[in-house]
Each structure stands twice: as C-alpha cells, then as structure tokens.
C-alpha cells in the first residue's frame, strides 16, 4: 500500500467461491436480489435512477446460471450451458416453418369429460382461455424450406402436454390426411404421457395413433419425430419412438417410467444424465441430437432428401483406369493399415454432400465403429454405411479401432431397411480388421448379427455398392459387403482373416504374418483375378493419403456411374444379379 487507507474495501463476490459454482451463483443472485429490494423505494419515487427492470434476468433451469434475457433470443437457449428452455407450440412453429406457411387443422376440437373427472372440464376451459392453444397439440400443414409437410407440435404448457382424446384424435387425423395427400409428417413431442383425467380412453390413444403411424409407414411415407423436453410415458411408448428418423433436442428428458418411480423401486440412485437425450442416443434410440438453431435446417435437409427419387441417368460414360498394383502383399497390408490413411468419414466428407449422420440400433447402443447416414452422391440421395477407424488414439477409443459390436451391425441393418423403404441406393465403405472379438459381443450375438445382415442384404430391393477402403477383415467386413458390386482401393486388402490370425491358426505363430500375407491372395490384383471384386480405385504411390483428391474424385465418378447402371435394372434383375454374383463362388 502506498496510499493511506481511507476506506473499507468491499468484497461482495469472494473469488474463492468461484471454485464452488453453486454457492457462487447463489451469492450472485442474492446480491442482485438484495439490491433490487434495497433500491426499490428510491427507484420508483425518482424514476430514473439505476435499477434492474423486471424480466431482465432469467434463471437457466439446466445450469442454474443467471442469464440476460435479451441473450436468450427466439431460440430460448442458454448462452452459457446451451440448455434449451421449454417453448410453446407456436414458438416452435414460428422457428421451423417457412413464413406464413402454417395452416392449422382442427383448431376447435376440444375434449369432453369421458370419466367425469371432478374439475377436469373447468381446468381444460381455464387453460384454453389462458394459453394460445386449446389443447396440448397444434396440427396442420406447412412448408419447411419449401417442402410440403404435415406438422404436429405438442405444447407442454397444456396439462404437461398430456395425451387425452383430443391429442390422440388430432394426431391420428393428421396421419390420415398425410396418407391421403402422400405427405411426410413431422411431430415435435413434449408430453408427460397419458392424461390421467381421461382414464383408459387416454391409454387407448397410444394404440390409436400407433395404428395410424403403421398405415402411414406402409404407404412408404416419411415420419420424423423430434423429441423435446419432456417426452415421457405413453407418448414415448407410442408415436414418439416410431419415427423413421428420431431427432431430439439437446438435454431433453426422454424416458418411459419416471426417474423417481424407478429410484424408489430399485432403491438405487440413478446417474445424472439418466433419461437425457444424450443418454437415449448413447443407448441407440435417437438418430441425431439437433440444437434448436439447427433444427429447421436439419429438417429441411432430411425432408428434401426424401422428396427426390433416385433416377437412372442414361448414357453416362465412364473411363475406368484403375489398374491393380503389383506391390508386395506385406507392403499392401502395411499401407492399408497406415494411421495417416483417410478414414471412412474422410471419404464420406469428400464424396457425399449434405451428409446427415444417424445413430443407434434402436435396441441397445450406438456403436461408434459404424457410421451411417444419408446424403447426396451428386444429385442422388443415398444411404452411406461405413466401418470407421480413428486416426488417433482418442478417436480409436470412440470407434473401438474400427471393430464393430453386434449393435453396430444392427444399426447398419436398420439403416439399410430404411434406405429400402425410401428406395435409396446404399453405399457401404469398409475398413475393419474384423468384428470385435469380445465376451460382450458374444453375449449380444455377434454371429447372429452378421448372419442377419447377410440374409437381409441378399433381399434388398435397392442397389448396393461396397468399397473396401483399407482393411477388409473376414465376416466383419463381409457383413457390409453382400453387394451388387464390390470395389477396392489399390492399397487395401480383403481376406478370410487378418494375416496374423491366419498364421496363428494354421501355423500357431502370429509372427509369420508376412509369410501369411504372401500366400493369402488378399490384394486387389489377386481378388480381381478371382472375381471377388469388380474393380480397383487407383491410388498414388504409397497410398491415397498422399493425394486424396486423385482417388476420391475417381471414386465419386465411378459410384455415380455404377449406381446409374444398377438403377436401370428391375428389382428382380437386381436381386437375381446379386444372388448370381455370390452363387458362382466355389471351386470343386
């Protein structure tokens, strides 16, 4: 101190409290609130002294932080923790539809009182008066990025978005009109579940709507659900989970039974992220988590992609120039495994535009070793499914070094069936040393999962092309390669087993892998001769990491050409061709 102490220093916000975010944020709020009360008297008498106006601050329900209300914008997303506030049906409609395009249906449908529940009719009437909706769902038809779609948006402000007769009826009618007009349907769910005040009639809505979803699906039409906070109970257990594509907002509560009920039943504390959108995605039930500011764009992409039918373009010419190299097999093995080799994701990024990744097997887990989704190859919508290796340790932990679990193969199959429903060609990219050999994989039926893929791929009514990008190891590779045509990168391999495994089984010495490679005939050159593959993607010397564009531009043109040719075939020709392709293998 160089100046005489003339005053008391005030420490309103002891910095050490920052380490404990909870107590710290409490102290902020207290200080602000104290001030608000403290200064009120003078404020209101003088009118122009500094004060905090009402509504200037809002509290984030997720991070408990104090947010400047102007920073919430129309998306109502916390600028600090990105937590999504609950918003009304009409707010959602304004955010996702093209301006003035929403045309509401059945706006005057109101519920009667099926079980004469005391006070119910009055409650419904009072809410209808107070809110800008008169039931827990708003339905209608609109444009999203120019695509005509049916849209239903639930509103959690109305008896927690619970599903009574009117909710069930409006949504069922929306499905029926969608079928009648051959339209896709998008539903934003927000619901506590069935409506207790309507008893068993409410329960029946689950079945009624699900049956309508089934008819819509059988008509080959697209259904997208967007799960928002909260989506629980009977809504989760019916139409929320039945979308062809299930999206969710970040952090949304998604579940069937309530957390408290479960904790009390099993007498255990559940993890913090239990029943969050992220938890549901990890467990394989959500295709994609989409933040509110990206929602309209993502919906627009998906809807547009489903409008366009792939058509065979006639008269495409293509100059093949991939000559297989005659490099030493062991060297090809080495290059195919190089850490710097572009991964399947890199290949997708180069050849597919507007790629939207979909997660999960809708059963057990989302497997990071399988990447799948939709996008465009040139002008043509396709489904892409790939085994993904990482390019560093962290990525490899996430992708399990490119070794899929059974749920990975089941995710792949789910996306293939989805592609078939919408008539989309399928591209698979393969780079795996093999299916994951582990107890957990066996418990969940690794063999069964691979078998199901082979069985179902044989019957897919859409063109399927496979490309081996790096390693094509055994059944784990074949599970994505029962295709109309199979291509290989020049420095990739495709074999019954890894050379190490081969040496280990035949000679009980995995050290003799080099020798194994030389006899296994695993190079594109050998496989082309044996007609196991149809062609080779050229690579510059040493591998396509040295010049990715050279190989990938070629690959893209090749695929465009091959799909165009396959699309000219009838379904039966396609199926027969695929059958014959594999029927021919055998030496006797």
């Amino acid at each position: 101190m160089i100046l005489p102490e003339t005053k008391q220093l005030r420490t309103l916000f002891p910095g050490s409290a920052r380490h404990n975010s909870k107590s710290n944020s409490d102290s902020h709020s207290d200080a602000l609130m104290d001030q608000g009360i403290d200064s009120n008297e003078t404020l209101f008498s003088q009118g122009n002294e500094p004060s905090v106006p009402d509504g200037m601050w809002v509290k984030c329900g997720k991070c408990q932080g104090t947010i400047y209300s102007r920073q919430l914008c129309s998306y109502k997303v916390c600028p600090d923790c990105k937590g999504h506030f609950r918003i009304s049906a009409w707010e959602t409609i304004r955010l996702v539809t093209d301006k003035d395009s929403f045309n509401e249906w059945d706006e005057n449908l109101t519920s009667s009182d099926p079980i004469d529940f005391p006070g119910y009719a009055q409650k419904v009437a009072a809410l209808a008066d107070a809110l800008d909706v008169n039931e827990a769902v708003v339905t209608g038809r609109c444009l999203i990025h120019g695509v005509d779609t049916v849209l239903c948006v639930m509103d959690s402000n109305f008896i927690m978005g619970s599903m009574g007769s009117v909710v069930g009826e409006k949504i069922t009618r929306a499905f029926e009109k969608a079928i009648e007009n051959c339209l896709p349907i998008t539903i934003f769910t927000a619901s506590g579940g069935a409506r207790m005040q309507e008893g068993i009639i409410s329960l029946m809505q689950m079945a009624k709507v699900s049956a309508a979803v089934k008819r819509h699906s059988d008509a080959g039409l697209l259904y997208i659900t967007v799960l928002t906070d909260p989506t629980t109970g009977g809504v989760t257990a019916s139409y929320a989970m039945l979308g062809d594509i299930v999206l969710a907002e970040p952090g949304a509560l998604i579940g069937f039974a309530g957390r408290r009920v479960i904790e009390q039943t099993i007498k255990k504390r559940l993890p913090d992220n239990f029943q969050s959108a992220e938890f549901a995605q990890e467990n394989g039930f959500i295709d994609k988590i989409v933040s509110r500011d990206n929602m309209k764009g993502t919906l627009g992409n998906i809807l547009k992609l489903h409008c366009r039918k792939p058509v065979a373009c006639e008269g495409t010419t293509f100059q093949y120039f991939g000559e297989p190299c005659d490099t030493e097999p062991s060297e090809v093995v080495e290059i195919s495994r190089k850490a710097t080799r572009p991964t399947s994701r890199d290949v997708i990024a180069h050849i597919v535009t507007d790629f939207v990744e979909f997660h999960g097997d809708r059963n057990f887990r989302d497997d990071g070793a399988i990447v799948g989704g939709v996008g465009y190859l040139g002008d043509m919508p396709i489904t892409v499914i790939a085994t993904q290796k990482g390019s560093n340790l962290q990525e490899n932990v996430a992708t399990n070094f490119g070794q899929p679990h059974p749920e990975g193969y089941r995710k792949a199959l789910r996306l293939m069936m989805q592609a078939e429903k919408f008539g989309r060609p399928i591209l698979t990219l393969i780079n795996t040393s093999g299916a994951y050999p582990a107890a957990s994989a066996e418990e969940r039926g690794q063999g069964e999962a691979i078998a199901q893929n082979l069985f179902n791929m044989a019957g897919l009514k859409v063109p399927v092309l496979s490309v081996i990008v790096g390693e094509g190891g055994s059944g784990g590779a074949l599970a994505l390669a029962l295709a109309d045509k199979v291509f290989m990168f020049n420095y990739s391999i495709y074999s019954i087993l890894s050379p190490e495994g081969f040496a280990s089984i035949l000679w009980r010495d995995s050290e003799r892998a080099k020798e194994a490679a030389s006899v296994m005939k695993l190079r594109p050159k050998d496989l082309l001769e044996m007609q196991v593959i149809e062609g080779v993607i050229p690579e510059v010397d040493g591998g396509f990491d040295n010049d990715p564009s050279y190989s990938l531009d070629y690959l893209k043109q090749l695929l465009v050409h091959e799909f165009a040719e396959l699309l000219q075939k009838t379904e039966q020709e396609l199926l027969d061709g695929r059958y014959d392709r594999f029927r021919k293998f055998g030496a006797y």
Binding site: M1, K7, L32, S51
Partner: protein
C-alpha cells in the same frame, strides 16, 4: 454532473479515469479481482468492490457482478476504459436496460462497428474508402485478373473458409496470379473442404494512421487530428506519435472529414477512433473503428491541450461539446512509449521520470507492487511533448534514460533502440518496419 462513476477497468487507464473524476469532483468506485487487491486504482478510488476471481472472465469480464457493483454502490455511470467490456454491446445494452449511463457509444453503434464485414459494408455505403477487395468470391481466373487490373498489383488470394494464415497467396503480377489461382483453389479445397476464394489489394508500405473523433449527443462531431501508430509488432502498437510526419493541414482536414463521415454513418456518440491505412500515394483506406478511449489518447491531449476523458464524462451527462472544430489547434509534437513488463513479479524499486516541462507518465504501478500474471503486460505510458519532433524525441530519450523499474524485466531498452533507429529518426517507417528491423537484427527485442 454525475455523482459517482464506477470504473470497470484496472491498471493505468483506471487510474487515469479516477484522476479525471477527482478533478471534476465526482466520487469513484473501483472494481478489482482477487489478484488486484493491492492495485493502485483500488487504493485511489473512493470505494472499491471485488468482482471476482483473478482470471478476467470471472472478474473484469463478469457483467453480472459488475452491474451488481454499480447498483450496490449506487453509482450512476460506468466508464469502461479500453479492453475488457469497453466494446461489448451486450454489456452496454444491460447498462441501458438498468438506466446506468455507459460512458461511450450506444450498443447499436458498437455492434455496427464490431463486426468487421458489417462495418466495411456500412462504411462503403457511407462513401468512406475501404481496402479494395472482391465483395464475395472470385469464381474464375479471368474474374481475378479483372479485379487485379482495376485495383493494381500486388493482390492477395485468400481462402474464404481460411484462417491462421493458411490459404493466402501473394501475387505480384498477372503471370503469378494466373499460376497461383488454381493452386490456391486446390489448396483451399484440401485444407478447408471449400475452394471459395476472395481477393484483396495489398497496400505496400502502409502507415497506420488513426483519427480521434468525439461526438456529443446533440449531433456535433469534431476530430482532434491524427495519430501515427505504424511502429507496431504483430499488430500491437509499440510507440505512437502525433501529429504524423506524413501529414499536412489540408490532408488532415480531409481525413478528419472522412472520420467524421464514418462516425455519422453509425450514429456515433462519445470518443472514438477511426483507423486507416495510408498508402505511399497518401490515399486512405478505412480499417476499423475503435468505439472507446484508446491507449494512445494522451498524445492527442498533449498537442491539443484538451482532456478527452473529462470531455467523455461531460458528453455522457448530456452536455454539448465544449469546443468547436475551429478551436482545435495542434501545438508541437508528442510521442508515447508503451512500457511493458516481459516478466511478472515484484517491483522492488521504481523511479518515474516525472519533472520538467512536457513529460507525462500514466501508470498503475508503484514500488512494492507485484505485477500479476493474469492481465495485459502494459505497466506505464511515458509521454513527451515538445515544440518540435526533435525536442519530443530528446525529452523521451531523457525520460526513458531516467526510468527505473527494477525487480522485473521490461521493454525500456527496446524502446530506446527504436528511438535511436534511423528509420524512426527519419520518420520513414511503416507497419512492417519494426518487424524488419528485428529480423535484420538492427534492434534486439
């Protein structure tokens, strides 16, 4: 006048503002972080409030806490200084909402000038000259050649999705441009998966010249002449002088008018600085506007005899500008050297070269003060003023020769080398000169 002002800053600028308030008879509130408990501004202010932990984001950038401090101390205005929240339009909007006077421009003006691309568009439409560039992408080589022909070589090809210096190519002539164009596109595609390219003219041997403007809330705007800030390293100004050696009264009046035009275009209030590049033919190009008081404002004060901070406070209270454009007379020459710490730690001895006509030291340090590691490294600004540039240089040499800051390392020797360099003495220096002098080992940092 205001009764009490909270200074939402630290270091020498906080001290500078507190001094102005004291002279105006306005009570002051300092804010401080945990690391700044013993800082000079905390001791000088009438009240001081701790607003959080040492990292800036928890204290000097903590809008919520700072607003609370304003309300608790019943201050009626906030002076933001420079840096920290001074150009944060959200904070300004919060102050506006709470009926707290922010001593500076409106949130709208800050946000209009804050986004570089927006500011450029706004300035172009207001008729302020900007650095020629292709507005949007250049999609074929002929378009690129056409652009270069109309603005002259050299030009830069830049990847739209680029950053960090990647995907930038310098082309000196048409041959180079034709050769580089395809390569730049490929490079951009591989590096950023996006081959969009845009172009910009390169201003060779550019001087960084900025104009101080000040506007009241009644539509009056004046300029206080220019500052020459070309002596810089990695976009950090090191030494500034006013007036600029390359200027004359006609050019100054012309540039001043352009600066006022820029300020009017965003409905600017209070003090601000419009930064320009000046090319060898003395043509000016708008770079950006700093919507706040600047570090180097004292040299303008020295040659105009006009206290900018006091005027900021007066204007914020709603008063009209106290002088008119014709009252602004430039008198002599002034130089500022920024004295930075190159290490943190305890200053165990300090001698400031105060004394004598025409030397001013603005600082936030004292003997026994420990320089914290969390903030900007600037310790003090030594400002000299003389009848001529030569006299100002001589005074600066004398002052820096006397200045002692012991216990930590500083850039005093570096500044003395600049003062002695031929480029500086001749006034022949551009924004790239200091880096070149270091590269050629003429000066050792």
């Amino acid at each position: 006048m205001f009764n009490k002002i909270l200074i939402a800053n630290r270091g020498e600028i906080a001290v500078r503002i507190i001094r102005a308030c004291k002279e105006l008879g306005i009570a002051t509130v300092a804010i401080f972080s945990e690391a700044d408990r013993d800082a000079l501004h905390v001791q000088m202010a009438d009240e001081a409030v701790c607003v959080g932990a040492s990292p800036s984001k928890d204290s000097y950038l903590n809008m919520h806490n700072i607003l609370s401090a304003v309300l608790l101390t019943k201050a009626d205005a906030v002076h933001p200084g420079f840096g920290f929240l001074s150009e944060n339009d959200t904070f300004v909007a919060m102050c506006e909402d709470c009926n707290i006077k922010f001593i500076g421009p409106s949130a709208d003006a800050i946000s209009a000038m804050g986004n570089k691309a927006n500011a450029r568009t706004l300035m172009k439409s207001a008729g302020v000259p900007t650095i020629p560039g292709s507005d949007g992408t250049v999609d074929c080589v002929e378009e690129a050649v056409e652009f270069a022909n109309s603005y002259g070589y050299p030009v830069l090809l830049k990847a739209s999705a680029g950053g960090g210096g990647k995907g930038i190519r310098l082309c000196e002539n048409e041959n180079e441009l034709r050769e580089s164009y395809a390569a730049a596109k490929t490079e951009a595609r591989l590096a950023f998966s996006n081959d969009a390219i845009y172009m910009e003219k390169v201003i060779r041997n550019a001087r960084h010249i900025e104009v101080q403007i000040i506007a009241d809330e009644h539509g009056n705007i004046i300029h206080l002449g220019e500052r020459e800030c070309s002596m810089q390293l990695r976009n950090q100004k090191v030494l500034e002088e006013a007036p600029s050696i390359g200027m004359n009264p006609e050019l100054r009046a012309q540039l001043g008018e352009i600066a006022i035009l820029a300020a009017r275009a965003c409905d600017y209030k209070n003090a601000g600085t419009v930064e320009f590049l000046m090319d060898e033919d003395k043509r000016f190009y708008f770079m950006e506007m700093n919507t706040r008081i600047q570090v180097e404002h004292p040299i303008t004060e020295m040659i105009t005899g006009f206290d900018i901070v006091k005027e900021q406070i007066s204007i914020a209270r709603g008063n009209r500008l106290s002088i008119r454009q014709e009252d602004v007379q430039l008198n002599g020459h002034s130089i500022e050297c920024r004295i930075n710490a190159t290490t943190a730690g305890l200053i165990d001895y300090l001698f400031l070269p105060a004394g004598g006509l025409g030397i001013r030291v603005d600082s936030g340090i004292y003997a026994g003060y420990t320089v914290p590691t969390f903030y900007d490294s600037m310790l003090a600004k030594v400002i000299s003023h003389g009848e001529s540039r030569e006299e100002a240089i001589a005074k600066m040499n004398r002052a820096l020769g006397e200045l002692v800051i012991s216990g930590i390392k500083t850039n005093i020797d570096f500044q003395l080398q600049i003062l002695e360099s031929e480029n500086f003495l001749q006034g022949e220096y551009y924004t790239t000169t200091l880096a070149q002098m270091i590269e050629s080992q003429e000066i050792k940092p």
